[in-house]
């Protein structure tokens, strides 16, 4: 901007953009924007940490996670790239851990292959398909793999692909992705494909009732289950300075959202935050496997 002002030597003319609409910001928002402006990071980059525990009541870990992030910075503009996946193999089914492991490997392999030439190879060839088409196809590929390699099993999957500032999520089941915008706001960006969530959406039961409902683990959509699969695919901007939290229900089912947010902002770094979240779920009884990925976008 300064460069531009110097170039054209005019300061008083504000840009006129016919279609732009801005809403007034609250003091809290302004403060967080100011705080961010004081700490700028170049190049724009993704920080990632993870945590996992079998829990205190099970012997087998059926959760799987995958993280990968890359920064290529130089003269030519390369966007930050990240892929983060949590899969929760379904209890009560055989081979739940096979299903979740097959799923993260299939999806990560599919997506990395798609991006390899463009991001890491010398060709720099653009990727033909859209980000949404790629994650959708990757989930369908996982569905085929699970049906083939672990028939009868099932798994959730929440896969987050970050390219530039665009966060594209493919989601099946009841693992969750949250965005944390600042200390005041944390928002689930996935919708559980579970019976209780459906009952809750239909107004049959309250969120409090859902949290203790005996059938709270029953999914109506999962990888490896059913003839047709329709993952939720959605793209949303990743807020600079904000966090992406992906976790299995072993975490969110035991630790309330407010507590998760408090841990993220209270911990000295994201690695500690992940460990503290896992510890909080275990402290609450740890009845299920616990998996968490925490990503911060600095820029």
């Amino acid at each position: 901007m300064n460069f531009f002002r110097n170039l054209f030597g005019k300061k008083e003319n504000k840009p006129v953009i016919d279609n732009a609409v801005t809403a007034p910001l609250t003091d809290v928002q302004l403060q967080s924007i100011k705080a961010l402006a004081q700490n700028r990071y170049e190049p724009i980059q993704l920080l990632v940490a993870s945590g996992q525990s079998v829990g205190r009541q099970r012997e087998l870990n059926e959760d799987s996670l995958f993280t990968c992030s890359s920064i290529i910075a130089g003269n030519s503009s390369n966007p930050p790239f990240g892929l983060f996946i949590v899969a929760d193999g379904m209890g009560g089914h055989q081979n739940g851990e096979v299903a979740s492991n097959t799923t993260i490997r299939t999806i990560s392999g599919y997506i990395m292959k798609k991006f390899y030439n463009s991001l890491f190879g010398m060709t720099g060839q653009p990727v033909d398909e859209s980000l949404q088409e790629i994650v959708q196809a990757a989930v369908m590929e996982a569905q085929r793999s699970v049906l083939r390699d672990a028939p009868g099993s099932g798994t959730t999957v929440t896969a987050a692909l970050v390219v530039g500032q665009q966060l594209t999520i493919a989601h099946v089941g009841d693992s969750r992705a949250y965005l944390l915008y600042n200390e005041q706001r944390m928002e689930a960006i996935t919708r559980d494909h579970s019976l209780v969530r459906r009952l809750e959406e239909l107004g049959q039961i309250t969120a409090a009732e859902a949290a203790v409902h005996p059938q709270r683990n029953v999914l109506y959509r999962a990888i490896g289950q059913g003839e047709s699969l329709e993952p939720d695919v959605v793209t949303t901007p990743f807020p600079i300075g904000g966090y992406l939290l992906i976790c299995s229900d072993g975490l969110w089912g035991l630790v309330p959202d407010d507590e998760l947010r408090r841990i993220v902002y209270g911990a000295p770094n994201i690695q500690r935050a992940c460990q503290e979240m896992v510890a909080a779920a275990n402290a609450a009884g740890g009845p299920d496997n616990i998996t968490v990925i925490l990503v911060q976008l600095l820029g």
């Binding site: 460069f3 531009f4 054209f8 953009i17 966007p79 088409e133 793209t235 901007p237």
Partner: protein, 631 residues
């Protein structure tokens, strides 16, 4: 709760009965003059009344009377409080299929609700007046409308509203064949001596409602039951409960399509889990069935020719101004004046309120470029290869800037400069005050797209099919290649660039890097620019459709078919989008539903984008006229 609508007028001299019907001529609270009884129910009567607060017009309202039968004064008070709370909730609902609530008051042991008067019949009466079966396409049309209003209620925040009492007699059809849901649970507090909280009507209610449970899927079931009744004429109240499965639709009415029957059967499943999960799923299934059978297209055509509340003959322009040749571009409003280019080579300035001619500026070529303004000057390009800066009040030339090709792009102003494309294959950055070139960027193809500028970056498309992002120095940040030309002007929102290409896709790219986030396939190419409002992006295409697409999921929310190519961009104003079509019409479509509200016919294709300001809608047509309508 059970309200029977009656069509007969009670005898004029009849006295108040023990249930206490008001005589016509009674004036309630010195405002509502009772005219007729239009319904009687267990709680009281419904009257047609005239609102005397509007002395110069006859404003009719419906007055619903509810008699408080509770003997205990404390209970009576609670009943009134509950009624007023429900009335307050209903008063906040704004939907074309829900009657508006104007007023409520309580006089002694009677409470009154004053609401929109619906001129029409309920579906039970309608059914009784028809010989034979109601055509499937008619029932389908009503069904989709009912899904819309139920979806609106179910998505109500903070709490969903379950209608709980869907049945033919609670659905009114007005003179425009639009459905209106009546008899909300407003009278519920006045019910006495009923068992539990069960309030659904027997015959239409799902099993779980009999256990005191009612959710959105109860409305799905009851709507299914209502449709079953309408299409078969078999009244479920005369049959054993939950016995729809024993009355297969096509056995009774063989003209019904298998698709429609299947959808209704799904809604009528005994198990909640087997029904549609939401009313929106129900609606999608109905639309799917309608598409398969082809009935949906017929409904749309019917609506556009006769079923709309205001058709072409009903809409009169506030003013129209005739130029000497075609107007293909987009007008621009500034401070009471409307500026528009024309293929008679002039830029016109008209008084926006009455269309009075102010001045015109003659160039040497057709003007399709949309004018823009800054500090007393209007800027626009012409096919004579020049960009002009003209004083907005006097029409006198401030400066002119020459390019080497025809200018079809429109200028965009930022930081003291105007950015505009030309058929000379450059994007030009020109100083606003001096009219001198700051820099130009060589593209290799014509630039007809209008640049979009945000965060010090400039986005525009080229006829070679590239979408280019430049910084303010005129250096390329990134380029994206579509398969065919990009005449469409990009729109950037939340760091995503949206635009169309002649290759038949609408694209969404990351604004920083140019990565493809999603693409949406249309049936043909498009030169239309997308328009974004809330979570939807609106656009059109040569395939004749107007589209509404979800920004985040890239899923089609609705599409509307015009009768020819859509070349002008849609514009959102309040709860509607406005767009022209080569079929000569300017369309007004409801944002949420994609339903036609009205259309206006000019005498030539409309290829520009309308301009909306202060409830006025301005647009030009190739019939040489510029029109002003009320939005």
């Amino acid at each position: 709760m059970e309200t029977q609508r009656i069509n007969q007028v009670p005898e004029p001299g009849s006295r108040r009965t023990t249930t206490g019907q008001l005589r016509s001529g009674t004036n309630l609270v010195n405002r509502y003059l009772i005219q007729d009884v239009i319904g009687v129910g267990g709680m009281g009567s419904v009257y047609r009344a005239r609102d005397l607060h509007f002395p110069n017009v006859v404003k009719l309202v419906a007055v619903k009377e509810m008699i408080n039968q509770a003997p205990d004064p404390l209970v009576r008070q609670i009943v009134v409080q509950n009624f007023e709370r429900e009335a307050n909730i209903l008063a906040t609902l704004s939907h074309p299929s829900i009657p508006r609530i104007y007023d409520y008051f309580t006089l002694e042991n009677r409470s009154y609700l004053v609401l929109e008067y619906v001129n029409g019949n309920d579906l039970e009466v309608t059914l009784s007046q028809i010989d034979g079966f109601i055509p499937e396409e008619q029932v389908l049309d009503w069904a989709i409308q009912l899904c819309d209003v139920l979806s609106f209620l179910h998505n109500h925040k903070p709490d969903p509203i379950i209608f709980r009492d869907m049945k033919p007699s609670n659905v009114m059809v007005n003179q425009h064949n639009h459905i209106i849901l009546v008899d909300f649970g407003i009278a519920k507090p006045f019910q006495v001596g009923q068992k539990g909280t069960m309030i659904g009507t027997e015959g239409y209610s799902p099993p779980e409602q009999y256990r005191g449970e009612a959710n959105a899927q109860a409305d799905v079931y009851a709507l299914g039951a209502t449709l079953h009744h309408l299409i078969t004429r078999r009244d479920p109240r005369l049959e054993p409960p939950f016995s729809f499965g024993e009355r297969p639709i096509r056995k009774i009415n063989p003209s019904v399509s298998l698709e429609f029957e299947t959808v209704i059967n799904t809604a009528l499943q005994y198990n909640v889990e087997s029904r549609f999960k939401t009313i929106d799923d129900f609606k999608q299934a109905l639309i799917g069935a309608g598409r398969k059978t082809g009935l949906l297209n017929r409904i749309n055509t019917n609506q556009s020719s006769s079923g709309v509340s205001v058709n072409k003959s009903g809409i009169k322009p506030v003013w129209a101004f005739q130029c000497e040749d075609e107007i293909r571009g987009t007008p621009f409003y500034l401070s009471g004046l409307l500026y528009t280019g024309c293929y008679d080579n002039n830029l016109y300035a008209l008084n926006a309120s009455n269309g009075e001619f102010q001045w015109k500026y003659a160039t040497q070529g057709g003007v399709v470029s949309r004018p823009t303004a800054m500090d007393e000057n209007i800027f626009f390009g012409s096919e004579d290869k020049r960009m002009y800066a003209v004083n907005s009040r006097t029409g006198k030339l401030t400066w002119a800037y020459d390019t080497d090709g025809r200018i079809r792009s429109s200028g965009r102003i930022a930081d003291g400069h105007i950015f505009i494309g030309s058929d000379d294959k450059y994007l030009h950055a020109v100083n606003l005050t001096t009219g001198r070139l700051a820099w130009r960027f060589e593209v290799g193809d014509e630039v007809r797209s209008t640049p979009f500028i945000v965060n010090d970056l400039i986005y525009f498309g080229t006829e070679g099919g590239e979408l280019i992002c430049l910084d303010f120095r005129g250096q390329s940040k990134w380029r994206f290649k579509a398969k065919r030309s990009i005449t469409s002007s990009p729109w950037v929102q939340d760091n995503v660039v949206y635009f169309n290409s002649m290759d038949g896709f609408m694209y969404a790219l990351d604004a920083k890097s140019g990565w493809l986030v999603w693409r949406f396939r249309m049936e043909k190419g498009s030169i239309v620019s997308p328009y974004i409002s809330e979570n939807l992006v609106f656009t059109g295409s040569l395939d004749g459709y107007l589209y509404a697409v979800d920004l985040h999921t890239s899923k089609e929310v609705w599409k509307y078919k015009t009768n020819h190519q859509v070349n002008g961009s849609p514009v959102v104003y309040k709860d509607a989008i406005y767009a022209g079509s080569v079929d000569n019409h300017l369309y007004c479509i409801e944002i949420r539903t994609g339903r036609l509200r009205w259309k206006f016919e000019s005498k030539g294709p409309i290829t520009g984008t309308p301009c909306l300001y202060d409830d006025f809608l301005y647009f030009g047509s190739t019939d040489h006229f510029i029109y002003a309508l009320m939005a």
